[in-house]
């Protein structure tokens, strides 16, 4: 592990969580400061719809 990463985890951790809210909830319960970003994959993760969307310019 590099020094930079060690330093990052040595002090209080601040987390930005993107997507699944379960990770945010678990960390919050342990007193970790978390910013939750409401995100889901395009078209709910449906690859066919996502492909259509990319071709339709969305």
């Amino acid at each position: 592990m590099s020094g930079t990463i060690k330093d990052l985890l040595a002090g209080p951790v601040k987390v930005v969580n993107i997507g699944l809210e379960g990770f945010e909830a678990e960390l919050s319960q342990q007193g970790v400061e978390v910013v939750q970003v409401d995100w889901s994959p395009p078209a709910g993760g449906d690859p066919k719809l996502a492909d259509l969307l990319s071709k339709l310019g969305a």
């Binding site: 889901s40 395009p42 078209a43 709910g44 449906d46 719809l49 259509l52 969307l53 071709k55 339709l56 310019g57 969305a58």
Partner: protein, 416 residues
Amino acid sequence: MEAIEKANALTIERILTSDPVLIDVQTARDVVPGLKDGMILHAGPPIEWDRMCGPMKGAITGIAVYEGWASDLADAETKAAAGAFEFHPNHHFDCVGPMTGMTTVSQPMLVVENRTFGNRAYCAINEGLGKVMRFGGNDAEVLDRLRWLRDDFGPALGAAIRHNGGVELKNIIARGLTMGDEMHQRNVACSGLILRALAPALAETATDNAALAKALAFIAGNDQFFLNIAMAMGKSITDAARGIEGSSIVTAMSRNGTDFGIRVSGTGDAWFVAPVEMPEGLYFPGFSEADANPDMGDSAIVETIGLGGFSMGASPAVAGFVGAGSASDAGNFTRAMGEVTAAESPEWTIPAMDYLGVPTGIDIRLVVDTGLAPTINTGIAHRKPGIGQVGAGVVKAPMGCFTQALTAFADRMGVS
């Protein structure tokens, strides 16, 4: 795709440059193109008797008695089941109707003309609150009120509107937004403004003081009086934006209590349909979710033009009334709908959101991409016929409508 962006820009231009004016009240038989005896127009996409929900069946039996097509409710039900009446969506006849959305030949219809494009749209007069036909009510009190609307109030209102030279609606909406209305579940400001606009003309055209007093009291006593005017206005605007090849903008969202349907400008007259969802909301004392009918009505035409749930930020009081959260949460609904719309209205703005324009022009691509379903503010009907409204809430348009529409739109654009 450049073709889609150009088509959408034209669609948005048509929506934003529309000039809707309330010009008259006329009998449906005389003004609704193609409407005939024995036809019953209903809210939502096409549906047959067997699949209709309780309040829709209740309203149909009631309107058949009102029109003299059946001797009583039981006779009307027998005839409806036997195929004696033709059922069609309001949307196929330039009409809209709230909740069950009954439109038949003898009803007085509000007439809104889109003066920019010359098309007209129609909606019956709002009956008031409580036990009313739009929520499936069908007893003598409900039918007597409809007869009074037909014989007395409708003709009086039409005379006043004509005497006034019509009522321009865009300004009323702009002012209503600054006064806390979102024009779906809160119309108290716009109902007051239309009363103020028409009271002198009602007085000048009245021939009987008692009838005038009753007409004024009816408008003043119904906070939702303006809803049906807003709906006809919405229909007159979205109809002007229909049929633009290459446009991915939604031109109708509508529900019949069983199915939710949408139409898209670039896919012709096709409906994209999925099962309706159940509103989440607050119930009147004595009622609960167990009593509720699923989502219903053509009234989502107001969300289609950026009002209702899309303008929740203008109406914190509605956020509380429909159980959608605190006053400070109201703006979040509007911001979310900004993620799925192509434009902001320059004329309809929300003071409490730094005069943000209402989110206008739902793009099916953005809905499917983000997974953010359009939010609709709605009344909740009892699931059994004849009872009426039991609450109000918020409901999401089913994502299935938008994924189907996207697939059909892509096919039409030659994309696979």
